[in-house]
Structures are given as C-alpha cells and as structure tokens.
Amino acid sequence: MNRMIRLTVNGESREVEVPTYRTLLDCLRYDLGLTGSKEGCGVGVCGACTVLLDGKMVSSCIALAVFADGRDVTTVEGLAEDERLHPVQQAFMDFGGFQCGICTPGQVVAAKALLDETPHPGDAEIREWMLGNLCRCTGYYKILESVRAAAERSRA
C-alpha cells in the first residue's frame, strides 16, 4: 500500500508517495535522492543513518517514512549554510575526525544535535551522547577532539 506524505527536508517542502513499509532512510536515499545518510547496520545500532526529526536525533533506518509525515527532517546535506560548513563539519575536517567517511554524516548530525542541546559539553557528556555512533577507522580520539573543538569555537 502506498501513501502520500508531506515533509520538510533541510528547509524544503517535499511531497512523495511511498510504500508504507518504506524506511525514512530509504525514502531519503531513493525517493528524494539524498544519499548523504548511510545504511550501516540497518538495525539502529551504528548511527550512520542519523538524522534530526523535529530537531531530535533518530536512526532513520528504523523509522518509517510515513512517521515523518508533516514533520521537519534535517540530514547531513542540510547542515552547511550557503556552502559554509557547519562548525561541527569544519572541526571534523580540521582535527581528523573522519577517515573513510561512511559514518561521518551520522557523526556530524549527532554532534550538532548534542551542541544544540548542550552547547558546552564536557568529555563525559560527549562520550555518552556519541556512543550510538560507531566509527571503525578513527578509534574515536579525533572525533572526540573534533566535537570538543566545535564546542570551544562556538564559545569564542
């Protein structure tokens, strides 16, 4: 069964007909062509598909597209403003917060959500918040440093 849904994605109003079983991740990737969000584990554990739904972090691989009907979605593609990278994205660049980059869209969206909620987190808060975003390349040290730096820069 298909359903028409209307959602705001990165500030743009979109209308799309989806099968009711379609995940939000597949809807973003296949129906809307936004391939920035990635499928890693597919069961809501690794965080590569992290997006913001009405400003709250969700794993889009285990949320249904119809669940986003009438709501506001922010993906990694929506973080930069006018080609200017979000401070979190810039910090990941400057501090080596990524290697292969497959988890990075989820990492930067999660870090943005953290800083929206807690602009100046301590290391313990960063570790607690980010534990749902797996990374197999960096060993996390440089991600921790990147998030810390993004928070410090916004303080300056």
Partner: protein
Amino acid sequence: MAAHRVVGHTIGRVDGVDKVSGRARYSADITLPGLVWGKTLRSPLPHARIVRIDTSKAKACPGVLAVLTARDLPDVLVGRRMFDMPLLARDRVRFIGEKVAVVAAIDPDLAEEALAMIDVEYEDWPAVFDPVAAIEPGAPLVHTDPGAYEGAPAERPHPNVQSVLRFRLGDVEKGFAEADLVFEHTFRTQLAHHGYLEPHAGVVAMDADGRVQVWASNKMPFRLKELLSHALRLPQEKIRVNLTPIGGDFGGKGSLMDLPLAYHLARVTGRPVKMTMRYAEELQAGNPRHPGVITLATGVTRDGRIVARRVRALYNSGAYAAFKPAPSVNLGGASMGAGVYRIPNLSIESLCVYTNAIPCGHARSPGEPQMVFAEESHMDMVANELSLDPVEFRRKNLLRDGDVLPNGHHLEHVRAAETLDAALRASRWSEPKPGPWIGRGLAMGHRHIGVGFTNAQVRLETKGTVTLVIALPDTGTGAHLVLRQVVAEVLGLSIDEVDVELATTDAFATDSGVGGSRVTHTGGRAAYHAAEKLKELIRAEAAKLGVPEASLAAIAQAAAADGRKLEATHFYDAKSHAAVTSFTAQVAEVAVDPTTGQVTVRRFTTAHDAGTIINPIGHQGQIEGGLIQGLGYALMEELGTEDGRISTLSLGDFKLPTMQDIPPLTTVIVEDPVGPGPFNAKAIGESSISPVAPAIANAVADACGVRIVDLPITAEKVFGALRQKEQRS
C-alpha cells in the same frame, strides 16, 4: 635531515568537504537511469545437496525482472588466488549463508520479498565445523577434489587442507636438543568481522559501446578487472572499473562478492543493477578474520636465551579458499610466530583448513593479531616459568641488525630495543602500581613495509597548477593527501597548487591497488618519481623559453602553444621487501573487577618506530584506529557460531568498541627516517593492531594471576578463571 615544506605538516584532506557534507558518493549511492536491485537467497544449511529449486512463484511477482540459479550461469569458479567458489551454489551448499539464487527487481524491498517465494529442497549432509576435527581421518569432506582447483597449492596432507605455509630457520630438532627447558602452550582466537560500516556494494551496467561499467567498494580496481574478466569470460578491455570512495576496508574489500551476479542480472534484464549486502549478510557471509588454534613450543637455556621454537597454527578457513589473495593461499602473519626475537632454530607451520563454516579472508595485518596474541602471551608465560622479568626475557632475545626474519630477510636499522624502551618509559612501567587488581602488560610486534606496483601521472596545467592522476582508491587512510603532499614537496608547490584526479582502470595497464601497508611506499614513490620527471620537463621548457624566472603558467602555456603537454608518468614496482621493518611496543594498564571479572583498560601506551611522517594527523589516525580495533579484538569482538550458524547477526550482538570504550592513550614516535617510502617514510596502517590483545592478556595475568589463552578476554572468562584459582588454593 632536510626540512620539508609540505611533507610532515598536517594538511586538510582532499576528500574532506565531500565527506563531512554528505556529498561523497560511495558505491551504494550510485544511481543510473533504469537501475534495478539484486538480492541473493542464501543457504540455511551448512552442508547439503540441492535437490530442487523452484523459482516460478518469485518469477511471477510483479516488479521482479529476473530470478537466476546456478543452472542459468556459466559453470565458473571464482577466487582471488585459488578459484574454488561457484557464483551460486551448484547442486551442493557448503556453508550457512552460501548464495543459491539471485533476484532482480525494480525496488529493493520487492527483491527481498521475492526471495521468500523461492522454494529450495535440500538433502542434509554431515558437516564439520572444527578445524581440528576437519583434518582427522574420516572427517566429512568439504570439497571432493580440492587439488584440481585452479591456483590450488600442491601440498595437501588431508583433503580438507587448503594450504600449508612453512617458515624454517636453522635446525629445530638440534635446537630443542640443546635447550635446558621446553615450554608449550596452546591458544585460541575468535572469528571476527572487520567491522567496516559500509557493507559491500556495487553497481554494474552495460554502456552503449557494450562495455561493462563497474562501481564497487573494492580497493584493488585493476585486480578486480582481472578477476571479473576471469569470472565473466570477458576480455579485460570490455570492463571498466570506476573508482568510488570506500567506506572502510581493513583488508575486507578486495573480493568480487556479488559483482559477477550483478553482471549476469544486468545482462539478462538489460538494466543497470545495484547489489548491496545487508549487514546481517556481511556477518554471515562476508570474508572475516580467520579463527585460529595456535600452539607454540619454545626451548630456552636456563638464563633465558631462546634456542628453538616450533609453532603450529590451524586456521578455520571455512567452506572456500577464494577470499585469500596471497600466492600461498594462507596467512602471512604466521611468520610472526617468531615475534620480534632472534630464534636460531625455528619451524612454523600454518594450515588453512576447509570446514562447513563462513569462508574467511584477509583482515588488517592478516594472521598477525592471532599469532601475536599467542606468541606474546607465550613469551610472558615462559618468562614466568623461568622466574625472569618479562622485559628482561624479551631484551635478551630481541632482534638486532643483521638478524634474519623467518621469511629469510636480513634486517638493517633494527629499532626493537629503542621502541621497547620508549614504551616502557612513557608507560612508567617500573613505577609501583596504583592499587590491587591493577596490572601492566607488555607486548611487541613488527610489520613490514608493503610492496606492490602503482602508477602516478602528473601534468602541468596552463593555469600553473599541477594535476596528479592516480587510479588508487582511498579506503579512508588519507592516501590521496599523502600523494598530493609528495608531489607538492618535489615541485616546490603549495598543497593547493596540486589537484588529485581519480582515473578509472582505463588509465593505466595495471596497479596493485591498496593493501598490505603499501600505498605510502608504492604510490608515494610513483608520485615522487613522476614529479621528479615533470620537474625536469619544466626545467627544459624554461630553458627553451629563455626566461629564467618564467612562471609555471607561462611555461605550460608556451608548451601548449606549441601543441605539447607537460606531463610525466611513473610506474613504480617494489618487488621485494626492504631490509627495514617497523617495530611496535605497547603497554596496557588494566583493572580487573574481582566480583565480575570485568577488565577495564585504565591507560594504554603505544610506541612506534616510524620513518619520516608525511602527514602527522593521518599517521596518528592509523595508530589510533588500528589500536582500538585491537582493543575490540582483545575484549569484545566475536562472531558467535552454533553448528556453523552465526549467532551474532547484527552490530547489536557483534560488539564493536564505542567512544565509551577508549582508554587514555599515550603515543610515542621513535623517528628513524630510513624507510623505503618517499622521503624515507615507513608504513603504519597495520602496526598498532596486533600487540594490543597480548598486552591486555599479560596485564590481566599481572593484575590477578589468571592467564586467559582464548580471545576475546570477556568478564565471564576472567570470572571463571578467578573462581578456579580460588578453588585450587
């Protein structure tokens, strides 16, 4: 040492903006007009005869364009070195997860629904899962005649043996006869997936010229082209591999996986086909790290000199040898049975064994985390038996200049002792431990600097910048940036004046791609020499122009006006390993919770004998990433199996370290610029992973007196061992 302008400085990644903004297009992100989806049906049984496959219901599904079984495909076998794996199981399945049918549909969800409608009747056969049982007389045979496969090694002591790899030094019998004491220990290591977060993905399409276009998460595009040519019975010129970013490799992204099936679906449907594996499929049928059973016997003199060692490793390779790329069809890490020590009389034997389990492949420093865990645990256990300090026992036996490795290479510039000292100092090894149930453990390793062959082309643009053309994927290491730095350094340019252009497999004849800690060496040297050649061309052109201070733009424009391009290509081929290697020494400080057995790593020290570091942030990233993989391998990662069935089929059950699991880390670099890479660089990608597990195991033994000989070191195992120890005393 000459100061470098660009080399040695931390500089932003070539692919940075694309990767942090979601613009980078990985294989699973590629889309083409008319693209359809392929999905595979896998065997639920470990060993069975396929009696019948009924695909009629699946074929009748709306939106399903094709359903193929082995009957619809040419009878070919695939592999990376030994060709023993069918594209789809033909008459017989050999492991749970083996592909038996493939579907193409207009939507991925429909394709998965159609799989459920394929009816397969099996006749169950006896299976064997344990490598020790598999090579006993009368064990069920996984293959009828493995010696007949293309690329099969000749030696086969049992029909279930894939390959035997041996290393020998001196006379081991004589050595043991000279020993005062002999100690023998056996270790077991677990089955573990690489944990890259990008499951295998690929797109195959036929273009208007009848060529096969491939986009794939594969780190060796030229080898992929050769292997596809073999599998598809097509000339290599008919195939083009297009490079995409790779979402993590760690040794796992060098196989064909579903690409031949995607080709056949594309051929039958006339549509581009995308195939992506679900993570459950990765865990069930990827190409994970081999589990091993490893026995070491070491003969020593009473004062702690090693005079002989015999090592036997038995690796459970699963149902096929196809995923192993080395000519030996074995794991080169077996040579680490000698550790970082001078062992005059040595015999190492490594057997890869067929069972009805998931076929294993290469994983970051193939065979080494297994062997180094066994070897470095064994060193502490022998030291303990001799009542020697583990540091002193190691020191007495460390490799020195002129010593020979098991593979016959004579070593120069051996920095084993310096690296050990650096780790001991930084970890405050000799200071008193801060409390009870806290222990320190040491382990060492070394890793060769990879060899292979790579192309680089550099071109002076009329705007005065230089373009570096390569066909080498970046698996995430930042290799493209390293090569760009090398070119900028040679030509005296800033990093922004060098662009990287990624070519396809049409650009060069061949290239060994990424793997084996080779890229900085082979790619770096190719880029270095190509840039040197271009420098010569520029000099000659400037001389011709007669303007000594002419800008690069003016020089390029003058040449262009003459109808010439200023460009140079270099093919660098490093055939044999250099006489230098890179040493690692690590110290773990752990706390053991006596009530639960839980091990917490309180702090960790890693010391590396490095060459010239071209990109510090990338170099440190390799150390940290490898180290945390080693930590996961030591403490948590394990693919559980029950009679050949993987019981941890999600990343919720197969645990990888999270940001909460990382210990405070101290890194020490013992810089010794004598490597074979450009500007005397050495390798780093596979150095930090292997000693982590034995450092932790040795620390656990130091903390609470129990010795864990099988990985991972879980709370349950430590708790059980503590209980046993209590009951004994």
